[in-house]
Symmetry: C2
Subunit: 293 residues, 2 copies
């Protein structure tokens, strides 16, 4: 059997809600390539898909929020942990990689998974989720388990009932009663490609933040996305930056001249990979927006 490529995000003709009779049917399309394992992926590529099949007693599924138990250490028949889990397990390392790199994870629910979202038989595709947190704890059986929090990021938010949407928003509003959302970092395919190109090293300071499974960087748009700037999510409008230089760049603490010289609170020169071309119009937009004339 040839190795199938790993594919991240949505796969054509398999929309959210798609029903599979069995696990084998998920394999030809690379939807989920591992017949036996719940996690499809590893610490090098990241994880593209997971199956919830009731195999782990500590799993929690609230629909939009899933607390998922990593792989290993359980009795396949009872789902009970019989030994410690490990972060070096390829599935667990893969989910951490997806967290670091902001990769979307397809969530599949099996009939043996106990939740109101599971099908009567077979498997359903629950949409794209993000891994937003990972940690370890002692599970119900007294053994160490690797845990992940996944949040729904899919397109079917649109099809929710108003009550479901309201519930979601109520929870959010309660949290932010006295506060304010400051930073929402979106990670798109093109941003991910740019970060990979630089090996997650900041184009300003060359620092790649170490994480437990690799490195972390952010894709920074030179001309911002969204109104009123309407910059593009394209490589000629993207930089790979560490969070500190991303904040400073977005706030205009420094800017970049056409010859890549840094101006403002940061000096030196922007590191630019030979295969990465920037659009000078975007650089000009950033300079002018922040008063560098």
């Amino acid at each position: 059997m040839a190795t199938r490529p790993i594919i991240f995000g949505e796969i054509q003709d398999i929309p959210e809600g798609h029903w599979f009779e069995g696990r084998k049917e998920m394999m030809p399309s690379s939807f989920h390539r591992n017949w036996g394992a719940g996690i499809d992926g590893n610490g090098t590529t990241g994880t593209s898909a997971i199956v919830l099949s009731g195999g782990y007693e500590d799993d929690e599924d609230n629909g939009e929020e899933i607390i998922y138990t990593g792989a290993g250490g359980n009795d396949p028949n009872t789902g009970k942990q019989i030994e410690d889990q490990s972060w070096s397990n390829r599935g667990n390392a893969g989910l951490r990689k997806s967290q670091d790199e902001g990769l979307p994870v397809r969530v599949i629910r099996g009939h043996t998974h106990k939740s109101p979202y599971s099908p009567e038989k077979g498997y359903t595709y629950g949409g794209l989720y993000s891994v937003v947190d990972s940690w370890e704890e002692i599970g119900k059986s007294g053994f160490k388990i690797c845990r992940f929090k996944l949040l729904y990021m899919g397109n079917n938010l649109l099809k929710r009932t108003p009550e479901q949407i309201e519930l979601k928003i109520t929870n959010k509003a309660a949290e932010r009663k006295t506060g304010a959302v400051l930073r929402v970092i979106r990670d798109t395919k093109v941003a991910h490609d740019i970060k990979k190109l630089y090996d997650f090293k900041c184009q300003v300071c060359q620092f790649a933040l170490p994480t437990k499974s690799g490195h972390y960087a952010e894709g920074a748009h030179i001309k911002p996305l969204g109104t009123p700037h309407n910059g593009h999510d394209s490589s000629d409008n993207l930089l790979c930056l560490c969070p500190n230089h991303h904040v400073m760049f977005d706030r205009g603490s420094f800017s970049i001249k056409d010859d890549l010289e840094l101006i403002g609170e940061v000096t030196g020169k922007l590191f630019l990979h030979p295969s990465h071309k920037l659009n000078n119009k975007n650089l000009k937009y950033h300079r002018e927006s922040h008063g560098y004339h």
Copy 2:
């Protein structure tokens, strides 16, 4: 007249939607303390409230998203710009400070402001907004204007019609089709107090990110908020960190011993202000969650 204190966030007995006959009525409660100016605040304290009154031809009001023009340089009768605006204007500096520090801004709409959200007469309170972006550009009249993007963060999201909510979510979903939300930084009152205590210097590296109007730092929860950790938003569970060390801390790249020694990818000792007490249970939770035993 005694100087009234500046108050951020909601003010008792003045809920969103509250109607004022005139500007004077906003003053005794500190709701908006400046009779003449649109912006209440300055570069030292930040801005607590703004009035949209049609005084600036470049303003845009889409309800949840406002593109606001800063103060200065306009003819009060026509609203037309007659000279450049400046970032050193106290109102403009105040809005930048609110952006840096994540302070909530009360938005008030006057009857002379042209938008579907304005009252027939008098003024209405439109709720709390966050300043998420600031930049400069050339306005319709050819002069430089200071611009701010504000997003609605108030509690009345709950009272929206399903259609309004759906529209909002549709826009969001379109943006994230191929991506994933990685980081949402919330900034609460207690987090803000901690950051002020440290003068926005990171408790790990002592670096305060310079911005155009001051400094930027993030409030990092030791035991995370939200399920399943359910940490508290209290000072004994909060650190003032730069974005880089915040990312690394949340991902367990380093942790903190009870004697404040840093362990993992970062070495040294956590800087702790004499008046800042941490709860050792929270430190222990962080260590154990990330495998520091």
